[in-house]
Each structure stands twice: as C-alpha cells, then as structure tokens.
C-alpha cells in the first residue's frame, strides 16, 4: 500500500532525484564521451561535465534537505514509495536529457559543418551518383586526382563530417578532387559498384589529370566501397592507391556507443537503417582488402571509434594509422587524420 505521507515531501524528493539523475547523466556523458547525452561539448573539457553534474546534484540535495529538513527526520515514505519516486524521476531525467541533448548536439555538428563549406567546382555524373569536380585554378602539368567517397548518411541529411575538409586541403596541394554525393540512390547495391570505375574514367580523360595517379579515398561505407572497387578483379585497375577512413568491414553490435557519435534520434535511425546494413553486407569489403596489393592501401581509424567492429586485416598489404582522440564520424575532418592522409598521398600518388 502506498501512502506517500506528504505531498510536499514526495514532490521535493522527486525534484531532488530528477536533478541528481540529470547530474549523473552529465557526469557519465563527460567521462565516457557520450555526446548524445551531453548538454555541452565536453570532448575537450570533460571537467565542465563533471562541474555541471556536481552542481545539479548539489542543487537537488540542497533544495530537498533545506526545505524539508524538519520532515526528513520524521517517518516518511516507505522504501517501495521511494523506489517508485526515484524510478519515475530517473526515467524523466533520461528522457529530458535525450530530448534536450539531441538539438544541442545537432547544433554543435552544424557549427562544425559550417566551417567546411565546399566552394566552387562543377557538378558531374559518376555512374549512379552525382559529384562535384574541383580542379586547381593554376593547372599547368597533369596532376594527381582523388575520388572522395564520403560516409553514408542514410538518407537523413548530411552527417556532421564529410570529406569537404580533405577536399579543401587536397586542392591546396594541387590535386584534382572529385567529391561524390553519398545519396541513398548512389549508395545502393549493386549500383554503387559503378561509381569508382565511372570516376576513374571521368578523371582519366581530363587533360589536367595524370591517369597513372588516381587515388580513391573513402570514409565509413565509402571506405568499404573504395576497398571493394579497388580489390575487384576486373574493376578499378586505374586506381593507383586506396585510403579507407574507418571502413566498417564488420558490423559492430550497436548500443550506447553510437551516442558518442550523434544525437539519439539520428543514432536510432542509423542503427536501424536496413539499407545501410545491407550495403555493408553486400560490399563484403573484408574479402577484397587483401586483393588490393601491391597497390598501396592506407587504413585510418580513430582511437575513440566504437562503431566499427574488430576486423582481421593483418593479412592485408596495408599501412594502418590510428588517430588519437578521433571517433568514427569526425574522423573525416579530424586535423590529425587529414594530415596523415595528405602526407601519405604525397608519398603514394
């Protein structure tokens, strides 16, 4: 039988538990880089998360103990009632956090995107996909070219990172860049297999491009696609080298880890996107990686990436780079990753 003794006490306890649970969520968001639970950007300043968490907990405790002190030392709600009150408060705190953190994280992502606008270029068709072709203005001699296959966004708008930052850097290094748009239509199987061959043909015909130095760079499923295309026996022979940024290869079990990368609603769509799962399964990039050699292959992973599974790629003729502090989706515009890729391309293209 539930009595809840005093309405005031119960409501105050509810507020105390709610604020404390909010505080705990901010603390764990900061400690474990769960951006999907974070009210602020704790990636570089986790202490902000700890401070906010502690403040919320302290505020809840102060409100409760200061206002209810006299009643606290009298018979109060039973254990079962407290359990119900705490459970309700924790549930509401979790929902509140997920709802509030989603737009805040999306806003932080948009801010990052806004720093990387692709400028200029002309729209071209590459097989089933559309792309944007960038040629350095002062082209005199044939230059190396790079086809960029960004992460698959699942048809839910652009993910935070794409490869625009890399495109900008490569253009500055006097490289022709073809940036493919990762639409759902383009990233469908088997249509997607036509993208890289069409891109190499297009780039190879350009007078500004040295056809012996065409490289494919892919991120996420774009990485799987670049490996598959370059490793296929009758395709991609014109590809001089391959760079795969966090190729998925093996689907890791989904879970809270996705909240490290994106807001809850987007993460839920990402995890439950059947097209995405089917594309990874059909591309079977894990089988093709070993066939790319002797052409150079660079695999770049983020140390904080929990999205990609552990794939056995030791037998591959590949160079591996792990970027400290980078996750899965932000790997494409992480300064250290860009530096590693640009440097490697200088040596291998």
């Amino acid at each position: 039988m539930l009595y809840f003794v005093s309405t005031g006490l119960s409501l105050c306890y509810l507020l105390f538990a709610f604020l404390s649970a909010l505080g705990v969520l901010q603390g764990v968001a900061a400690r474990y880089h769960l951006g999907g639970l974070a009210f602020l950007d704790y990636s570089e300043h986790p202490r902000r998360g700890y401070a906010l968490g502690a403040s919320l907990g302290l505020a809840g405790a102060l409100i409760y103990f200061v206002t209810q002190w006299a009643i606290i030392l009298t018979p109060g709600p039973a254990g079962a009632e407290l359990t119900i009150l705490f459970g309700a408060a924790a549930l509401v705190a979790l929902l509140f956090t997920l709802i509030l953190a989603s737009p805040l994280q999306a806003k932080r992502c948009r801010t990052r995107e806004a720093r990387l606008p692709p400028r200029g270029g002309r729209v071209v068709t590459v097989g089933p996909a559309r792309g944007r072709l960038y040629i350095p203005g002062d082209a005199t001699a044939p230059m190396p070219a790079v086809c960029l296959l960004p992460a698959y966004t699942g048809g839910h708008g652009a993910a935070c990172p794409n490869l625009s930052a890399l495109a900008t850097q490569l253009l500055e290094q006097r490289t022709v860049v073809l940036l493919v748009e990762p639409t759902t239509e383009a990233y469908s199987y088997p249509e997607a297999l036509a993208i890289v061959p069409a891109a190499t043909i297009l780039l190879g015909k350009l007078p500004e491009v040295d056809p012996q130095h065409i490289v494919v760079v892919g991120h996420d499923l774009g990485g799987d696609l670049s490996i598959r295309s370059a490793g296929a026996p009758n395709a991609g022979q014109q590809v001089a080298a391959v760079v795969a940024l966090a190729p998925v290869l093996v689907q890791a079990p989904v879970g809270l880890d996705l909240l490290r990368e994106m807001p809850y609603c987007r993460a839920l769509r990402w995890a439950r996107n059947s097209r995405r799962a089917a594309l990874r399964r059909e591309l079977t990039a894990l089988e093709y990686g070993a066939k790319i050699g002797p052409r150079p292959l660079l695999l770049v992973y983020g140390s904080e990436d929990r999205v990609v599974g552990n794939a056995a790629v030791e037998s591959w003729h590949a160079q591996r780079v792990t970027v400290r502090g980078a996750g899965h989706l932000n790997l494409g515009d992480h300064p250290m990753a860009l530096q590693a890729v640009v440097q490697w391309l200088k040596e291998h293209s």
Partner: protein
Amino acid sequence: MSIDWTLFQFFNGLAQRSPVLDTLIRVLMNDYLITTALVLFLFGLWFSGETREVRERNQLAVPLAVLSMFVGNLAIKWMNILFYRPRPFSSHAVRLLFYRPSDSSFPSNATSVGFSLATAVWFFNRKAGATMYVLAFLLGFSRVCGGVHYPSDVLGGMLVGTCAAYIVVKKLPFLTRVWTAVIHYLQRWLLA
C-alpha cells in the same frame, strides 16, 4: 549482548555533543541521502564503461543489485515475523537523533539495503562496489550513533544484504542469462 550494549553506548555517546556532529549524523542516517546516492550510483553505472564488455558487466550489476535489495527486504520481513527485537530507546536511555521507528531493531533494514546493493555491484565492478560499501557502512554506523540500532542489528543487516546479493548473483545463474538477453535487446534501442 554486553559487548553489543558497550559498543552501542560508545558510538551513541558521540551524539548530542556538538550540533555540527549531530547534523552530520542526521544527514547520514536519514532515509534519503545515502540510499538515493546508492541508487544514483547504480543509475550512473548503467552508462559507464570504456568498452562494450565492461559496460555490459556494469549493466548486468544494476538489475541484479535491485533484485538483491528486494530479496534482502523479503528476508527481513520474514525474520521480523519470527523474531522481534525492541529498539535501543525502548528499554534504555539513549541519545536519540531520529524519529522512533516501530519495527524490529534486528536486523537493520537500511544496512541490508546498502550492503545488498554494494555486494551485487562488487561482483561485477570492484571499484564501484567498494565505494558503495563505504556508503552502506556509513548508513549503518550513523544509525547506531543516532540511537536507533544496536551494532549487532547493523551486523545482521550486513549479513542479510551480503547473503541476498551472493544468492542472486552467484546461485541463480539463469537471472544473469535473462538480464544479458534483456541488455542485448535494449542495445538495439541504444539504451544499453
């Protein structure tokens, strides 16, 4: 019994000496602060862990700890039917810092709750379990200081809570399998 009474007198003697110490004891012994802190620990544990494997272990600890608490509570209800021990203030002059609970003094229910939660967590995460043990001990100890339990009541609560958690975690492996399946299901909804 005499050792119990001597220890009770010693710890209860700390009460009503200084308003600051009395307030501290009241803050620790009330029904809300430490119990809520322990449950908040469990709440945070659900989201904690650098790797998926560590987090799954932590998440397994949460429902099993809650279940241990209920098992401990049931055991105490059952013990109270068989045996009733009056509170220290019923038959002695004590320095009371709390209200006068009417239920049996032995074993301490609050201590049992704390130790059942801490022990269940200890089996999965030593660091978190140790911290919870400290909180649970403070809860029991402060209740002796506040005059509502004998030390043996707290000891009894520790034993009941620890045994309840041991039985739930170690002797009922099907519960672990059930909760593992639940956690895997919740992972699909990104809630675990």
